[in-house]
Amino acid sequence: MERPLRLITANPLDRLARTLEALLVVASAPLTVDDLATAADDDAERVETALGLLAERFREGRSGIVLEFVAGGWAFRASREAADACGRLFERPVERGISQAAMETLAVVAYLGPCSRPEIARIRGVAADSVVAGLLERGLIAEAGREATGAVRYRTTPLFERVFGLESLSELPRLEDLGETEDIRARLEAVAAQRPA
């Protein structure tokens, strides 16, 4: 006879793991170890050990559900092999039709945030109002206080990290390492040299 998946054992850690599983199922956003420890009424170290057990149990290729560390916390997602089926069930409105302008604005907020609309407009050279409104609506950015001038500042949300599969913003490549910028200076200098004194 085929053995059923054994989840119910007398091991107290397994019991904690089952509680964590339940918490992760009811949560709609990633949960930190502290969140889980508080809810499970257990200590953080044991929670981490139990999460290790669960991560092994719910790893890609082993189950339709995958446990991952994303956006600063632990969360379940669908396994990639089930993506087509999930796509038929519901679409992902958050990322549908993100324009080039929206992606650039998102990059500004992710790298330089919290930053205000005037700041975004200064960097991109065009007004950012409608793009910012669109990103707010999608939940990819959120308000994060105000500048001294009163302008609202924005930051990216945990949903942004989740959608882009980031453990945290620090996982993004450093801005300094992006883009060849040497030629800009060279071209400017060339133009300056041509200018009559």
Binding site: D84, Q100, A107, A110, G165, L175, L178, G179
Partner: protein, 249 residues
């Protein structure tokens, strides 16, 4: 189009653009008196009259008008300008820094887009559990002739509505005039309320109008002991006669 020869007709100056610039540079014309917006309008009008777009002229105009604006700003806000002053090298440095920053952001946006593409098969729960899409309602097979008949019945002119029940039927006032006069010929007095009892509200109203008409013509005298008490109607001369008799007696 040669921008320098652009003819201007401003409040403070009339002549070609380059002469205006020369006068401004020689301090013979205060830049504050020059309406830059009008110059721009003159240029745009001239530009619109020609096609295709003369990009060289646009570039030249931008340089000249920017120079003019700078002179004007320096004159209007001398204090602020000192704070903002940038040498050519500093200005170039700032421009380069800004361009570099934007290029990096563009690159970052490209990487983000690639990353998003790579995470296309990432499905997770946001907020409440996603609802299953509602199944489309399937109609049973229909007979074309039945559908056409149903459609035709919709297209038919609807029957006009009858408003007959809303109509008010007023009996003529004259009818009540005749009736009250007839009563008064038989009796000296009568009770209005008793006479109109059983009539509709409209008929009672018309009867009352008839009564007022009779009172106006001094054919009847009206008396009412208290508000809402029955109205007593009597022949006018009958009412008056005893009064004369008693007092004159």
């Amino acid at each position: 189009m040669i921008v320098r020869e652009l003819e201007l007709d401003l409040d403070a100056f009339e002549g070609p653009f380059d002469l205006l610039l020369t006068l401004v540079l020689k301090d013979e014309l205060a830049p504050a008196d020059v309406d830059v917006a009008e110059i721009v309008v003159a240029f745009v009008e001239r530009l619109a009259a020609r096609s295709p777009l003369d990009l060289d002229a646009c570039g030249e105009f931008l340089v000249l008008v920017a120079a003019l604006l700078e002179l004007k700003v320096r004159e209007l806000f001398p204090d602020e300008i000192d704070d903002l002053e940038l040498g050519p090298d500093e200005a170039a440095e700032e421009l380069a820094a800004r361009l570099e920053e934007y290029r990096r952001i563009k690159e970052a946006a490209l990487r983000l887009a690639e990353r998003l593409d790579g995470e296309r098969d990432r499905f997770f729960r946001i907020g409440p559990a996603p609802l299953q899409p509602r199944p489309e309602r399937q109609l049973a097979r229909q007979d074309a002739a039945d559908l056409a008949a149903a459609l035709r019945s919709l297209a038919a002119e609807p029957p006009s509505l009858s408003l007959a029940h809303l109509e008010l039927r007023f009996p003529p006032v004259s009818q009540f005039l005749a009736r009250f006069r007839a009563i008064l010929q038989r009796r000296r007095t009568f009770d209005f309320d008793t006479e109109v009892r059983g009539l509709s509200r409209v008929e009672q109203a018309v009867a009352f109008l008839a009564l007022l008409e009779l009172a106006r013509g001094r054919e009847v005298a009206l008396a009412q002991s208290a508000p809402f008490a029955p109205i007593r109607v009597s022949q006018a001369h009958v009412e008056r006669r005893p009064a004369w008799n008693v007092r004159s007696a």
